[in-house]
């Protein structure tokens, strides 16, 4: 039997406001436990939530970026459940009237085609605290610093058909929230988290199969592995004569498997109702227009512009615009050296390779855009060859100064003086009479030998085009 996979993703992105969604406590990551949990976050009696305008603005920006409807009057609701890291006994969320309604996101499939994925909705809610189960004798430690951090939950339509599509969607959204500067996108710290609803059905069938919800997918790699694993598990269950149970499964990256979380049947009965502490949130046209003006150039638009403006291939433009910082960096390098294609090759090639080797982020790279542009300018004006430039770059990366300083200190300036090159060629010819005789006797292949000898004698600094030209003239003459 041929099976079709159906996946919908629920992505939680922490909005990067400085204060919490309903209180004035700070949201910074990594503080000592409970130093950033105020009376509102602790659910103390008598406190009232007051909504953070920053969270509303960021939610509206996301909505505009995915071409969604912005709900003019959205409503907060209480989602009731009991867990120690949720002190109020309910999470303030949105249910019937989320702030962002139907939108969409275009993803690129492996074969280069574009697929439009519907976004059902995106709603504002508060994050819960953290439970620490390790290290206490029959007790659980509760840290409420994260409680009340604003989240936007972005729910996709069940239109993803493979783990790869799910990852492409997730990456696209990740890139988008970072472009919009509404979320830092740090998956290790939990700022961008994903749950996946996965089911299978016989190919051609229109009804959906029973789905399992996968939780704890905190990297792109885990998402792909967990979904693929879950698809196989469901196929095995059904082909073995069983049926899939609707349940929540936790992905364990160490064992590369999903396992059922014991959940009672009524656990999903959250008894939502409108939160009487909060009034409807009104977002009028003026507010929406203000946010529209704040939108930066988005990834797809930037990509198209790079192709148009710099003559890059669509693929290269896609790589360079995947992250906003990288796109800005590239543009600074291209402007600085005046050679957009050379800049693209270097940013994606040597520069990215060096970042990977040193395991540093762009912001911490030892060579900045100005530095790299300075180096490329020296290739452009033929002070150095592309090959020597790699050596110079290496030295720059190791903190030995800017391009000009390194070229000077190491004496790497390209030899373009025809007289000097001629003198070296003469010397090489005199030192290799046998090869010269063979070459002149018709052994053309030895031309490469002479090029090599000249380059060796100049430690690679002779201008390659000039060497070829002068050598040809002298050998044949």
């Amino acid at each position: 039997m041929e099976w079709e996979t159906v996946i919908g993703l629920e992505i939680h992105a922490q909005l990067n406001t400085v204060s919490k969604i309903f209180s004035g406590a700070p949201t910074a990551y990594g503080a000592e436990p409970n130093r950033q949990a105020c009376a509102v976050d602790l659910g103390m009696p008598g406190v009232l939530p007051v909504l953070n305008q920053g969270a509303v603005e960021k939610a509206v920006m996301l909505g505009l970026a995915i071409d969604a409807e912005i709900t003019p009057r959205s409503v907060f609701a209480r989602k009731n459940y009991f867990y120690p890291d949720l002190p109020k006994g309910y999470q303030i969320s949105q249910y019937e009237l989320p702030i962002v309604a139907r939108g969409h996101l275009d993803i690129e499939l492996e074969d280069g085609t574009i697929k439009r994925i519907g976004v059902t909705r995106a709603h504002l809610e508060e994050d819960a605290g953290k439970s620490l189960h390790e290290g206490f004798e029959s007790m659980t430690g509760i840290d409420l610093n994260r409680a009340g951090t604003p989240l936007i939950e972005i729910v996709s339509e069940p239109e993803l058909r493979s783990a790869k599509e799910a990852v492409a969607y997730m990456k696209k959204l990740h890139s988008l929230v970072r472009y919009l500067d509404i979320c830092d996108g740090n998956m290790q710290e939990g700022s961008f988290r994903c749950d996946a609803n996965v089911s299978i059905r016989p190919k051609g069938q229109t009804e959906f199969g029973t789905r399992a919800e996968l939780k704890n997918l905190n990297s792109f790699r885990f998402v792909e592995r967990a979904i693929n694993h879950e698809i196989e598990r469901q196929i095995d269950v059904i082909e073995g004569g069983g049926s899939v149970v609707q349940e929540t499964r936790l992905y364990d990256p160490d064992r590369d498997e999903t396992r059922s979380m014991r959940t009672k049947e009524e656990a999903n009965d959250y008894r939502y109702f409108p939160d009487p502490d909060l009034l409807p949130v009104v977002v009028d046209t003026a507010f929406v227009n203000q946010m529209r003006e704040k939108l930066p150039e988005l990834p797809d638009a930037k990509r198209a512009r790079f192709v148009e403006q710099y003559g890059l291939s669509d693929y290269d433009a896609g790589v360079l615009t995947a992250a906003r910082e990288m796109g800005d960096f590239y543009e600074a390098v291209a402007a600085g050296c005046g050679a957009p294609k050379l800049a693209a090759n270097w940013v994606m090639g040597e520069f990215s390779a060096a970042m990977n080797r040193s395991e540093v982020e762009l912001a911490d790279a030892p060579v900045n855009a100005e530095g790299l542009a300075g180096l490329l300018a020296r290739i452009q004006d033929e002070t150095i060859s592309g090959k020597i430039a790699k050596e110079v770059f290496e030295a720059m990366w190791n903190g030995e100064g800017d391009a000009d300083a390194v070229i000077e200190a190491k004496g790497l300036k390209q030899i373009t003086d025809t007289g000097a090159i001629d003198a070296i060629i003469d010397e090489v010819m005199a030192n290799n009479p046998q090869q010269l005789e063979q070459y002149r006797g018709g052994k053309d292949k030895l031309f490469g030998f002479f090029v090599g000898q000249v380059m060796k004698a100049t430690q690679g600094k002779a201008n390659p085009a000039q060497v070829n030209e002068r050598l040809k003239a002298k050998l044949d003459g």
């Binding site: 400085v18 409970n34 909504l51 953070n52 009524e266």
Partner: protein
């Protein structure tokens, strides 16, 4: 609309309230009476009437995104039953 005792038990369990069968029967009767009373509203003509969230038609006030709270961990933890290393301690929630 009337409520059965079993339903009352289910809701009580969701709200983590302990309730005897006798209490559940009692509440089932009381709740059913309340529902019957509220059901009178079904007869009110509300076509074209927008749901109201506030009698003065107020809307949610927003506050600027700024930190206004200072750390008062010691104060809050002074009344907590158990604390360790800055964490609130509760009976273990997973086995």
């Amino acid at each position: 609309m009337s409520v059965e005792a079993s339903e009352v038990q289910r809701i009580a369990h969701l709200a983590r309230l302990a309730m005897s069968d006798e209490q559940a029967r009692e509440f089932a009767g009381g709740l059913s009476d309340i529902f019957a009373f509220v059901e009178q509203l079904d007869g009110a003509p509300i076509d074209g009437v927008e749901p109201m969230a506030h009698p003065l038609d107020a809307e949610q006030r927003l506050r600027p995104d700024a930190v206004t709270e200072t750390d008062n961990r010691e104060g809050f933890q002074a009344i907590a039953p158990a604390v360790e290393g800055g964490l609130y301690l509760v009976p273990r929630v997973i086995e």
